[in-house]
């Protein structure tokens, strides 16, 4: 009887520790993939500039195309559908929302680079050296076990790289 009880409690404690561990692991992995996926998506979006403006030495993002490309890469890398709802094989369980998207380029800010970019709503501080795109996404953590899934929020500021 003693052995049975001991074993029972051991398994119980073990199960609880494993639940905690897998939950934290889900949070961590989801945060990392969210950030990496967004970084690649914003990278691709920064390549979409208006060529006509470039001939005048200005970098101006083609915002419609940039947003399309951002969504396209983001969807492909994180396995989401067109409404950013995760597909079956995706790591995520909950819809991902793009909560903030800002284009900093020569049409909105002709001079004055580098500068300290500060977003008070999301407490985001970044040194911006040139035309950039700022994107913030959030989702609920895809935890396997019950528990309050925390909101994961990731921000990426990516600068235009390419021929001037």
């Amino acid at each position: 009887m003693g052995t049975v009880l001991r074993t029972f409690f051991l398994v119980l404690i073990w199960a609880q520790i494993m639940v905690m561990q897998t939950n934290y692991d889900s949070d961590e992995t989801a945060t990392r993939r969210l950030h990496n996926g967004l970084e690649l998506a914003v990278h691709d979006a920064t390549l979409q500039i208006i060529p006509a403006e470039l001939t005048e030495g200005k970098i101006v993002f083609d915002q419609d195309v940039a947003e399309q490309v951002l969504m396209q890469t983001f969807k492909e890398n994180l396995l989401l559908d067109s409404t950013l709802q995760p597909e079956n094989e995706s790591f995520f369980n909950n819809q991902i929302k793009i909560v903030y998207l800002e284009y900093i380029d020569h049409s909105t800010r002709p001079t004055g680079y580098p500068f300290n970019y500060y977003n008070a709503d999301y407490n985001l501080l970044e040194i911006v050296n040139g035309p950039s795109i700022v994107a913030i996404v959030e989702t609920n953590s895809p935890r396997h076990f019950l528990g309050d899934p925390p909101i994961l929020r990731q921000a990426v500021v990516y600068e235009y790289k390419g021929p001037l």
Binding site: T3, V4, T7, L10, V11, W14, I17, M18, Q21, T22, D25, E28, T29, R32, R33, N36, G37, E39, L40, H43, D44, L47, Q48, V69, T73, E76, N77, K161, G162, P163
Partner: protein, 125 residues
């Protein structure tokens, strides 16, 4: 007799319990390593315009030297032709997963860890 049997059966549980958390953690760290290497590889491939041999060697080097993977088991596939600016480059890294349960009597999940991502080329040519 029954006590001996009970002790032996508990032993299986105890051994599993002792090793699962650390093995699970190892699996997590492996996934983290592959993610980090893939992300870095993609950015370098984007600048070069395709997944060049240098990019592949660098990724393999990092996985082998920094993260202790066996060189023979790493499989990296991707776009090996020059890709125009704004076209997609793809890289896939496949490595075997380490076991989560030390005794092979439970379902271990998939045998392989596959990570695939795409990025647009920055190549101008």
């Amino acid at each position: 007799m029954s006590q001996t049997l009970a002790k032996w059966m508990t032993l299986f549980l105890v051994v599993t319990i002792m090793f699962t958390p650390i093995l699970y953690y190892l699996d997590t760290l492996n996934r983290k390593a592959v993610d980090a290497v893939l992300q870095q590889g993609l950015k370098e491939a984007s600048i070069e315009g395709y997944m060049s041999n240098e990019v592949v060697n660098k990724m393999v080097d990092t996985l082998v030297n920094d993260y202790n993977f066996d060189e023979d088991v790493i499989d990296i596939a991707g776009t090996t032709l020059y890709t125009q600016r704004k076209e997609y480059i793809e890289i896939t890294i496949t490595v075997p997963r380490t076991p989560v349960f030390i005794l092979n009597i439970f379902n271990q999940g998939s045998k392989k860890l596959v990570r695939k991502s795409i990025i647009m080329s920055e190549y101008v040519g």
